[in-house]
């Protein structure tokens, strides 16, 4: 049963990265759009993500609940020592979620729209940035519960070049996912060209920040290269991701949108796989070589069994409904997108 729970934890992080990530990406793409086509970009993206945006963010809640019910030590250690970026991420989530709703449900269309949009686009970038920082912190071995001063215990574990690079890399990945998603949603060739350009921009950004992650890891003493290149499966995962990316670069225009989405999803999956498989079952590496493990730092067996059943039964209700939601509106969007209403 423990492995069922771990699988759900991984799957919800994965889905949050893919779906929530594409959703954050929509705001990031808008942030980096030129003034001329900002409004056009926004209209296309709103129609594509409107009905499902709320559901995309539920995966984060599922992951957090699994953590605090099943793995309380991991949840409490993170929330104690990584408090500040978690709080920053929360502020980002609040600002983004509400600004998105406000801009769509304000009955009067006036200059307030600009305020909501500003908040929306900036928080769309800030939130995944801090998510990346938090992810970086879990593997950088900098969390030190024995630290006796504020900076070492609560700040310097996440505020370092490596974690910041992971944050930037996450932002680029989200933007990339969004552009690939939208390419499949637009009808007109000019729109397609626009988003192909944006996708290329995001791919370059992801490459630059990805390289930076490796460089800063070496600088900060995180043996990242050794982890990735020391394991055959990880090497395969990364090679496959890069190969499919090169293929995509060539064929962004001509490939079917479904293939593009599958490839993009595949690449992100491989990155997450390489990042998490290396240390499994460890999930948080601490200062001094200790680690928190998904197999050892676990709630009681009865809790795990009940949690696993709750997740399995919940899936029976959620997944068909979610697929039907995405299917119904995906079909509709094909017909309406591309015309500014």
């Amino acid at each position: 049963m423990l492995y069922v729970v771990i699988a759900y934890l991984w799957a919800s992080i994965w889905l949050y990265l893919l779906l929530g990530g594409a959703d954050f990406g929509a705001g990031i793409v808008e942030l980096f759009s030129s003034k001329g086509n900002k409004l056009h970009t926004r209209n296309i993206m709103y129609k594509a993500i409107g009905p499902v945006w709320e559901a995309n963010h539920m995966w984060l809640i599922i992951a957090v609940v699994i953590l605090f019910v099943g793995f309380p030590q991991i949840y409490t250690l993170m929330s104690t020592y990584v408090h500040i970026p978690l709080a920053a991420m929360l502020l980002g989530i609040i600002a983004r979620g509400t600004a998105f709703t406000f801009r769509n449900y304000d009955a009067i269309d006036d200059r307030w729209q600009k305020v909501y949009s500003k908040i929306f686009v900036y928080s769309s970038a800030v939130t995944p940035f801090f998510l990346g920082i938090i992810a970086g912190t879990t593997v950088s071995g900098t969390i030190n519960p024995q630290a006796d001063n504020f900076l070492d215990a609560y700040v310097l574990n996440w505020l370092n070049w490596f974690c910041v690079s992971v944050g930037c890399f996450t932002v680029a990945i989200c933007g990339y996912l969004a552009t690939i998603y939208i390419i499949g949603e637009v009808k007109e060739q000019s729109d397609k060209a626009l988003f192909v350009r944006k996708a290329k921009f995001m791919i370059i950004a992801a490459f630059v920040f990805g390289a930076l992650v490796f460089a800063t890891a070496a600088y900060s003493g995180v043996p990242l290269a050794q982890w990735i290149f020391g394991h055959t499966v990880n090497v395969i995962a990364i090679v496959l991701a890069i190969a499919s990316l090169l293929f995509m670069w060539k064929s962004l225009y001509v490939s079917s949108p479904v293939l593009l989405r599958i490839l993009a999803g595949f690449q992100v999956t491989m990155i997450l796989f390489a990042a998490t498989s290396t240390h499994f079952p460890n999930i948080v590496l601490l200062h001094g070589g200790q680690a928190l493990s998904l197999l050892e730092d676990v709630g009681s067996p009865k809790t795990i069994a009940t949690l696993a059943w709750a997740l399995l039964i919940g899936s029976i209700f959620i997944l068909p409904a979610l697929f039907y939601l995405m299917y119904s509106f995906g079909k509709e969007n094909k017909e309406v997108i591309g015309h500014d209403a």
Binding site: F68, A107, A310
Partner: protein, 444 residues
């Protein structure tokens, strides 16, 4: 402000706001579904407009409730890590089920809001009902988790260790039923009076009267029924508290001395130093009778509870008085409305009644917040009643006061924007939602 107080204030503030957003999100979908049902049965376009208008309110408050809820699931750990480390695996069951219910709510809301004209009309209506049912289920589950803090169950506490954990027993603890019934009815009554009050104001101002009358009738009817049921559930809750948490009951009632024929103390100023209540009305024997059904039986007073285990008396007592007092006012107003309705006296044309409803707009929510303060402050100094003290659960991270200021600023501005948006929705009623008004813009 020290870190402990800052953490408590931030938690209180976050929950205090979340309760409002969540309760509206729990109840409004039902109002919406009633209006939608009337539209589907009668074909009256005005009900369609009303359904759409209310669904916009639901969307705004649902989104706000969703983010404040996400935040709370993190804040539990950010502020109370020592509590979550032990409590998470025990009382986490309702939270994991709540995740499911909430997920379904989000999916159903997506279908409902974007589904006009896209689906079979009864399927579309049904998705709106699902929003309400799953919202209500979420509320009940979260309250069950809170009930566990008042009535810990599903584990053995041996030498500081939490053994033999049973999450199902923890979820169905002794307090879950009374607390969740009380909270659900409170949500209906508070939201009902708030919605009815807003529409009553528009009726008084002679704006889109037919539209607002239809809205008022649905909201006021639900509010009145809930307000009449609430004292019964309150009595059930109080008897339950008396049994499990005598200290909380004693603080609620400002009851200092254990005695038979214990009086019910109404109002007054409790003084913990002299262990007495000044300026209060005392109704002899009534407290004993309410708790035991027998006026001659004794009720435990605060004096018999160790000083370090007593909750703050004054604030608990005042909050309780406010809750009960406002509950009585809403009960009266509800009864008057239903009586006039039954006698076919056209209550909506009576200006005095509409004015009373306008005045009652915030009362339900004030009562709801007061009631929540009673249960939370009345549980102090414990975070898990009788097992873990709140002061032992707080995070070791210093500087929480800045976090408190920041989150206060966020919540205050968020609420201001929500009120502003709802106000703008109301401003646009004649253009967007009322088919009979001369300046209606037909967008279909």
């Amino acid at each position: 402000m020290d870190d402990f107080i800052a953490a408590r204030s931030q938690m209180a503030l976050s929950l205090g706001f979340h309760i409002i957003f969540a309760c509206v999100g729990m109840v409004m979908p039902f109002f919406m579904a009633i209006a939608h049902f009337k539209y589907l049965r009668s074909g009256d376009e005005m009900y369609k407009g009303l359904t759409k208008a209310w669904s916009k309110g639901v969307a705004i408050l649902f989104a706000t409730g969703a983010v404040s809820g996400t935040m709370l699931s993190f804040e539990l750990g950010l502020l109370w890590p020592k509590f979550m480390e032990h409590a998470g695996p025990i009382f986490g069951m309702p939270f994991s089920l709540e995740g499911t219910a909430f997920f379904i709510e989000a999916i159903a809301l997506g279908f409902f809001l974007y589904g006009w004209g896209r689906f079979n009309k009864w399927f579309h209506w049904f998705t709106g009902v699902v929003v309400g049912i799953s919202g209500l289920a979420s509320g009940i589950l979260v309250v069950a988790a809170n009930a566990w803090m008042n009535s810990p169950a599903g584990f053995d506490f041996v030498n500081g260790e939490y053994l033999n954990v049973d999450p199902m027993k923890a979820m169905f603890n002794e307090a879950w039923l009374s607390q969740s019934i009380h909270m659900s009815i409170a949500a209906f009554s508070a939201t009902g009076f708030a919605v009815a009050g807003v529409h009553a104001l528009m009726i008084l101002r002679q704006k889109n009267v037919e539209f607002h009358s239809k809205a008022f009738k649905i909201a006021a009817f639900c509010a009145a029924i809930a307000a009449i049921l609430q004292p019964l559930s309150g009595d059930f809750s109080a008897k339950d508290v008396a049994k499990r948490q005598p200290a909380k009951l004693a603080a609620m009632e400002a009851h200092f001395h254990t005695e038979a024929h214990a009086p019910l103390i109404v109002g007054g100023v409790p003084d913990e130093e002299s262990q007495s209540v000044k300026y209060a009305v005392k109704l002899p024997g009534l407290l004993s009778w309410m708790v035991h059904g027998d006026a001659s039986k004794p009720v435990t007073g605060l004096v018999d509870i160790p000083k370090e285990d007593r909750p703050p008396v004054a604030i608990t007592h005042y909050s309780f008085q406010v809750m009960v007092g406002l509950g009585m006012v809403m009960l009266l107003l509800g009864v008057v409305y239903l009586v006039l309705l039954a006698l076919k006296k056209q209550p909506l044309s009576k200006k005095w009644l509409m004015r009373l409803f306008v005045l009652a707009t915030p009362l339900g929510y004030i009562a709801l917040e007061a009631g929540w303060m009673v249960t939370e402050i009345g549980r102090q100094p414990w975070i898990i009643y009788g097992v873990m003290r709140t002061a032992d659960a707080v995070t070791p991270m210093p500087g929480l006061v800045y976090s408190f200021y920041l989150f206060t600023a966020v919540f205050v501005s968020l609420s201001a924007i929500v009120v502003f948006l709802l106000y703008r929705q109301i401003l646009m009623v004649s253009k967007l939602y009322d088919v009979n008004s001369p300046d209606y813009l037909d967008k279909n």
